[in-house]
Symmetry: D2
Subunit: 215 residues, 4 copies
């Protein structure tokens, strides 16, 4: 790695595709089984080549060590409605036999000073290529819709200011993170009601149930 | 309509599929052109048969008048980051020649008493079937991520209580809608910064740009 | 055209995506309506940049005239079981209001000296971009599975020899085109039987019908 | 099995989805690596409920033994250009660690009396469900485009006559199978040329290479 980027990134793309199919299938199973589904939606991406190069330079990682040391080349994001869903998802990932957990970081119990909240896991996932089995590191981020909204904005600003966001913007951003946190708090309060409600919906609609999220 | 549901709903499904492809393509064009993209994601669904029947009964609509009188059998939802993006999207839809606007309802300027906010449009969209051209009504909902989060929850509760949500739950739900509103307000304040930031990102990454939302 | 290839080819990609969705939907409608479906599968592609440049050079087309003079930048292929299905598909395309036929070439009645058989149509298709409506030329090829198999092979050989296939290979290829023609002839003979059979299948399986081609 | 069909068939659907993603990824890898790709396209399906019930009745299989004894509830089909590609694909499947081969049947060396040709494998494939790991039987069929064309027609006729095709139709069908065989033979003769040609194409087009089959 990484002489021919397209070729080298192919197994990362494959890992992302396979994990998206697997996790979205779990989502569908929850829906069909008339239980609250802890997975609102699943997205995935392979880090753009430009971002890999920039990060390698910034963190001083030689290209030949990228596979071991850059743990977010392949990324999966699982977004859920409630903060408590995050535990359910993390437990479910831990119990899978096709995935090995490498490390975990809980930025919800200990949020970053910026206001960032999310649960991160780095996993080892084997893919079968035309040259044999290859082990790929994948970063999985688990977060609520409110955390996700905020993080999208923070990501843009961080990029703009190359990590050096001016103090006034930082402050505004932190206040927005509090608004996101409050939204999660209010949602938690009505969660019991909602969980019960969603089981009833699933039962009533049976397999005719479709939803905007199936897009 | 509606003797053979699967057959009768087929053109609705087709309209939803075509509009999803068309609107997602706009999203991609914004991204490639290095401008802030007012479209975060697009989803669509055909109303489940059970829900159509229930609504027809509740609103006293005979089945043969469904096509004209039930305007949300086909539904498209466009979700964006900022409240001001909603105007951009609405203008863009109004200017398309493949779509005729039937009516509009602005539940953002005048939110519902429940706390519900969104911009609704009902459009006439022609699809080509094996029996010729057919005009389909489609409801388009345009909202921010925060409005969307809240509406998802409210929908579940409304369903559970068949439109008769108890007062204490209603109150909690209303407080959550205020938290969602506050999040939108905070986001608006940093919007100018973010817009500028996103153009820079798009320019830097060029066509290597990928994103979790492309999933 | 064509300073920024990615941006310039975007509307072509959009046209291909929209037409694939529209034509595949017709296929599904035929299946659901218990009639023989004249569409076996639909594929589409935007011509690779390298091939556009090569062809422009070979045919002496200035880049600024590409949009008008290179008619196969966007390509759609419709593959069917029987030779007579081709007429059905061509008539159906001619009758659509969202498509304007620019020209047609019938390489089935008059096959090329190479053995190539297919029905070609060039159409004008309008797409809505963020800069307004844009008219795109799209080449539609209609052919049987046997014609398609042969054409795939011929395309590879033509490419290899840059249009100058040696005489012995040409002869072999011509014999293979006769084998493909014979397969189409044998299929035509049992076609009446098959058509009837397929309607019965569709009726029996009702909406549970799935097929490998839906992939 | 099988009280709630939708729920019971869910893991079969999941197995089919995962295998399609995995096998299509191999196809893409071959293309990018500038080698002849032995995989033309991959399709998959879960057997329709009606067909499962009919077959269970005909073969006298009690519903509770379906999972073990009906080996084609989940089906994957891999279609290739040349007869020799079939061996390549079979070897590749045998060497995968995420798949266990249960049995193989070579209807190419020994074609059926009807004229049917294909290579069949039944595999054991584990899927992770919300209730834990579940082992699913999947039938994989490997065949050329000509074999596939013929088999599609034969399937329809067999269905129509419930396995009792009249002798005159049988004869026509057998002649068509010979025409399909001849097409494969002619293709084999120019195969060496084509293989070489395709590597050159892949090299020239590099990652700009797209193809109608990617549809």
């Amino acid at each position: 790695m990484m002489e021919n980027w397209e070729l080298d990134l192919q197994p990362y793309k494959q890992a992302v595709e396979e994990l998206k199919v697997k996790l979205r299938s779990l989502r569908e199973q929850y829906q069909r089984s008339s239980r609250h589904t802890p997975i609102e939606f699943v997205t995935g991406r392979v880090k753009p080549i430009g971002s890999i190069e920039e990060k390698a330079k910034r963190k001083n990682i030689p290209l030949r060590e990228l596979e071991q040391r850059m743990q977010d080349i392949a990324g999966i994001r699982i977004v859920c409605q409630f903060v408590t869903d995050i535990d359910t998802i993390v437990d479910m990932i831990r119990s899978r036999k096709d995935i090995t957990i490498i490390n975990e970081r809980d930025y919800i119990k200990e949020k970053k000073s910026s206001g960032y909240r999310s649960f991160h896991m780095v996993i080892d996932y084997p893919v079968h290529t035309i040259k044999g089995t290859k082990h790929i590191l994948v970063e999985i981020q688990v977060r609520t819709m409110a955390m996700n909204f905020w993080a999208t904005i923070e990501h843009s600003l961080n990029y703009k200011y190359r990590g050096e966001i001016p103090d006034d913007i930082k402050e505004r951003l932190y206040r927005a993170s509090e608004a996101a946190y409050n939204l999660d708090e209010e949602m938690s309060k009505i969660q019991g009601e909602v969980r019960e409600a969603q089981s009833i919906i699933a039962l009533r609609q049976g397999e005719h149930r479709t939803s905007f999220k199936n897009g």
